[in-house]
Each structure stands twice: as structure tokens, then as C-alpha cells.
């Protein structure tokens, strides 16, 4: 799958229309704006498991979804692909199990709901979006990078920086 793929029956002509790449990782359905997807690649020989080397030799941080959410979970054996995401502060790779396709949606018709887990800037890490009646998590790549940090990514310390923006008393 290559970034820039188009989809028929697009909602993009509508206000707040957007094309989303759907993937699955750790059993979760994740969607990312297609414009933010650099590409999906087979994982190959990552020495430390925390970085991914692109074809032209550049090394980028590689994130596991369970690390991002802070859920202690074994990495599924079938997660052999890496989705490379663009963000304004650099590229970041996310381990995925499968690409589920590209969907065009109108965010005005299906408004995303912010989740309570926030990035370093206090913005929701992702939004809950109901597609086909199933929950999908619309991911903001920049949040990934600000969460993991350059050093934290290598050391698997991402969960230390997690913050739950829930003002309710425990």
C-alpha cells in the first residue's frame, strides 16, 4: 500500500472529508490520515527492536502500540509490518499486523470523540471513531513522537510519560 492511494466514493468533496488508512495492531483497529502515511513496509533486521531502517538508510523510532497505550501485552507474532508515519516533527514507525484498507469518511457525519490519554502537549493521543459500528482509534502521529521522545523510544520508557487527562476523582 502506498500513500496517496485514492478511494472511490470519496467524502473528500465534503467539508471535513478525509481519507483514512485502516490497520490492525494488538487486535485494535487504528486509522491514520492517508496523507500522514509514508508507507507500509515489511520489518527487516531491526537490531534493537526500537528503531526501523528505511530503504535509504535513515533510522527512525519504532513504536509498539502496547507501549503507547501502556498495556502490558506480548507482541503478537504476526506483527511483521511497519507503518511509517509522517509528522511535522519527523518520521515514526508503528508495528502493525495487517493493513485493512483505505476508507473515505466525513468527520462531520461521524465526529471523532477524543480519548482521555494525552500526548506531551495535553492533546488527545487519538480519537475514537465509529466506522461500520466498530470502534476505531484515529491516531495523531505527532502525538506518538512527542510521547516517546527520542531517548524514551530506545529505552521503552514511553509509558512513563503517559498522562490520563481525566479530571474525575479516582
Amino acid at each position: 500500500m502506498v500513500a496517496g492511494e485514492t478511494a472511490r466514493g470519496s467524502f473528500e468533496g465534503e467539508r471535513n472529508g478525509i481519507r483514512l488508512m485502516l490497520v490492525r495492531t494488538h487486535g485494535c483497529r487504528i486509522c491514520v490520515a492517508l496523507d500522514a502515511v509514508e508507507g507500509i513496509f515489511e520489518q527487516h533486521g531491526a537490531a534493537d527492536g526500537a528503531t526501523f531502517t528505511l530503504a535509504h538508510g535513515a533510522t527512525i523510532p519504532l513504536v509498539d502500540w502496547a507501549t503507547v497505550t501502556g498495556v502490558p501485552a506480548e507482541r503478537p507474532a504476526d506483527e511483521t509490518q511497519v507503518m511509517v508515519l509522517r509528522s511535522a516533527t519527523g518520521l515514526v514507525g508503528l508495528r502493525i499486523g495487517a493493513c485493512l484498507g483505505v476508507r473515505s469518511v466525513s468527520l462531520a457525519r461521524t465526529p471523532p470523540m477524543p480519548t482521555r490519554l494525552t500526548d506531551a502537549a495535553g492533546s488527545p493521543l487519538c480519537f475514537l471513531l465509529m466506522l461500520d459500528g466498530r470502534p476505531h482509534l484515529m491516531l495523531e502521529p505527532r502525538g506518538l513522537l512527542t510521547r516517546i521522545g527520542a531517548a524514551g523510544a530506545a529505552n521503552g520508557e514511553a509509558r512513563d510519560g503517559l498522562g490520563v487527562a481525566d479530571e474525575r476523582p479516582a
Binding site: 478525509i18 487486535g27 500522514a36 498495556v71 468527520l107 470502534p135
Partner: protein, 399 residues
């Protein structure tokens, strides 16, 4: 020059807005189309003097659009500029397609767009005066631009003095934000809100979005390690970066739109209740039916149990209602969620053998009626915590 009509055809709303930001201040009359079909329709009704055509469209290829336009009497001689991120690789298509006089590669500089557009219109005017009967004569091949040419003011003249590039990326973002904010107010007006009036609870979020965009703009301009560079003239260095932030903003905008349409003007919030129930479970249909029409969001019930602990972490719901003892996958997901450090979340068992309920569950409800009673309790709890805010909608996610 200032009354020339330009049709912008691009499936990306952001690109259309960006081109609008560049061309509208120059006095061009603009119309927009999001795909090839729309382009053919608008070209006939709008009768543009020039068409900016995205090379990749959802429904048609650009050469096919060009051929269809050339076959239509009203647009047979209309010059076309291809716009594409494919760079020099579209050169062949550019040379082959009918009526194409130039192309612009993405990312583009505002002054390059302005200059190429003006040159194409000027050539079209002079050529059509000389040989109006020939579409080929109206689109002289001397208008060919190389990529190098696109990187500097187009040959044939300096950019018009009226082309004012933004002094900084921040200003450009601010202009984009202002336009989008106007669009939101317009939408709000159609939903019964007074046009132009400040939207309650909206402005702070808009300001917050603007601050984030400016924050990114500062990153763009200050960090040498960032692959997206701020050009010395202040133009966008990388459209992708702009698109990303526009996407983020659109998410905000979608939330705001939903908020203004809600009776209580409460922003959509993360769901308060997660219901875990297999799709084929006997209670699944009853639950779906019960929440329908009760101001609860009726959601389909699936079997993606593995994501339950992740959703608990991300959403921090008040209550997780789990149907137990259906299969190992569901049990494992519920118990993995129970093992999380999530003190804000109560776990309640739905049905099941009373003696077999895990002691870590806070309680147990019987059937759909019991579930609805629990939902009412949660709603009252939310209202109490929100103080005077009335009509808090309770949203339920069933997975």
C-alpha cells in the same frame, strides 16, 4: 487579468483551500471541483479561463479529463495547468494531454502558482486573439516549465507585485485558520446558531488549535533536523506538513461542529461505558435494541476482544460491563483489563453464574433491564460531577 475565472480541480480540500488562499487575493474568480465528474460539470457552467487540474483524481485520470474538456465546445480551448506531487514524472502526460499548457509540482510556492497562472492566462489571451479556432494554437508549447523553472519565478516575467507571500509560516497558518473558522461559523449558522456570533465553548478550542499550529510552525522554522524546511520567502516547504496539521485541525473542527449541533453544546466526550458482549450472544440484540432511541449511541457489537485493555487505557471509562463465560478470548481480555491500574474504572459483570463472577468485579447486573438501570446510575453520577451542566449524554461503546 483580475476578472479571469479559474477552476481548481483537486480531491484534497486542503490543496483547494491553499490555492484559494493564493489566488483569491489576486482577484481571480474561483470555482472548485473535487473530482473529474464535477470538473466537467463545473467547467461547462462556470466557463473558466483556466483550469488547475490535479493529476490524480478519485474517479478519472487527468488526461481523460483533458480529453473530455477538449471534446466539449464550451471548454475546447480552455488552457489547463496540471498540479501534481509526481514531479517531473508527469512531464510525458503533460506533453500528451490536450490543452495542457504547464504544470506545477507539489509542494509549490505561492508566487510560483501565481506566476504560472498569470503567464498561462496571458499566453492564452494573446494566442486566442491570434488563432481562436485552434486549441493547439491557444496552448503554445513554449509554455513548457521544467522543475527548475518551477523553483524560481517562471520565465517570462517576475511575479506580479500584487503577489504577497506570507511573511511567515505562522501568518499563513493564521490565514488558513481564519478561513476554516469562518467555515465553522457558517456551518453553525445552518444549525440554528446566529451567524457571526461567538460560539459558546468553541473559541478556546479554536485558539488552542491555532496555538498548536503555530507551535508546529516554529518547529518547522527552527529545527535543522526537521525534514520540512521553512523557505527564506516564508512559503510552505512541504505540503505534507501543512496537510497533517490541517488534518489535526479538521478533527478539532469536526468536534466543534458536532458540539454546536448538540442541544447542550457539550463537546463530544470519550464514552463513559464500555459493553463487552460477543456478537452472537443472546443478549447482544437485546442490548442493541435497548440503547436505541434512548439518547445513548447505539453501537454494533463485535468480537474484537483483544482491544479491550487498550480501550480501557485510552478511554478511561467509568464502567466496563462484561458478559462473562462466553469464550476464552473474552475472558482473557476482561481479565487483562482488570489487571490494569485503572482505579477510575469499575468492572461490572453482565449475566453469568453469580458464583462464578470474579471477585474483582464491582458488581453484577441481570439482563438488559439491569444494564439500563446501571446506565441511568452512571448518567446521574456524571451529572452530579458536572454540577449544573444539564443533559449530559451518556455514550456507550460496545465491542
Amino acid at each position: 487579468m483580475s476578472t479571469s475565472r479559474v477552476l481548481v480541480v483537486d480531491d484534497s480540500l486542503t490543496i483547494r483551500r491553499a490555492l484559494e488562499l493564493i489566488l483569491k487575493p489576486l482577484g481571480y474568480e474561483l470555482d472548485f471541483a473535487a473530482d473529474g465528474g464535477q470538473a466537467l460539470e463545473r467547467a461547462t457552467s462556470f466557463t473558466p479561463d483556466l483550469i488547475l487540474l490535479d493529476y490524480v483524481l478519485p474517479d478519472m485520470r487527468a488526461p481523460d479529463v483533458c480529453a473530455a474538456l477538449a471534446a466539449t465546445p464550451a471548454t475546447a480551448f480552455t488552457p489547463i495547468i496540471l498540479v501534481s506531487a509526481k514531479g517531473a514524472s508527469i512531464r510525458q502526460a503533460y506533453q500528451d494531454a490536450q490543452n495542457v499548457v504547464s504544470y506545477i509540482t507539489k509542494p509549490f510556492k505561492p508566487q510560483v502558482v501565481a506566476s504560472v497562472v498569470e503567464n498561462a492566462l496571458a499566453r492564452g489571451r494573446s494566442a486566442s486573439g491570434a488563432a481562436p479556432e485552434s486549441s493547439r494554437a491557444a496552448v503554445p508549447r513554449s509554455a513548457v516549465h521544467t522543475r527548475d523553472a518551477d523553483e524560481r519565478p517562471a520565465r517570462g516575467g517576475e511575479p506580479s507585485a500584487s503577489v504577497a507571500p506570507p511573511a511567515s509560516v505562522e501568518q499563513a497558518f493564521a490565514a488558513l485558520l481564519a478561513q476554516l473558522e469562518g467555515a465553522i461559523c457558517e456551518d453553525a449558522a445552518t444549525r440554528g446558531t446566529t451567524r457571526g456570533a461567538p460560539l459558546p465553548g468553541v473559541s478556546p478550542r479554536l485558539r488552542s488549535a491555532a496555538e498548536r499550529l503555530n507551535d508546529v510552525a516554529q518547529h518547522l522554522s527552527g529545527e535543522s533536523v526537521v525534514p520540512y524546511r521553512l523557505r527564506s520567502d516564508g512559503s510552505f516547504a512541504n505540503v505534507a506538513a501543512t496537510l497533517l496539521e490541517a488534518h489535526r485541525y479538521l478533527c478539532e473542527a469536526a468536534i466543534l461542529l458536532a458540539a454546536t449541533g448538540a442541544p447542550s453544546a457539550v463537546l463530544p466526550r470519550a464514552p463513559e461505558v464500555l459493553v463487552v458482549c460477543p456478537e452472537r450472544h443472546v443478549l447482544a440484540g437485546e442490548i442493541a435494541e435497548a440503547v436505541r432511541g434512548r439518547d445513548l449511541v447505539p453501537l454494533a457489537i463485535g468480537e474484537d476482544f483483544a482491544q479491550l485493555p487498550h480501550l480501557v487505557r485510552l478511554l478511561a471509562p467509568r464502567v466496563v460491563v462484561g458478559v462473562l463465560r462466553v469464550d476464552e478470548a473474552a475472558d482473557a481480555a476482561v481479565h487483562a483489563s482488570l489487571a490494569l491500574d485503572a482505579p477510575q474504572t469499575r468492572f461490572v459483570a453482565l449475566g453469568g453464574d453469580p458464583g462464578g463472577v470474579d471477585p474483582r468485579f464491582a458488581g453484577r447486573v441481570d439482563g438488559v433491564e439491569g444494564l439500563l438501570e446501571l446506565l441511568r446510575e452512571v448518567a446521574h453520577e456524571a451529572q452530579r460531577e458536572a454540577g449544573a451542566a444539564p443533559d449530559i449524554d451518556l455514550e456507550v461503546v460496545a465491542i
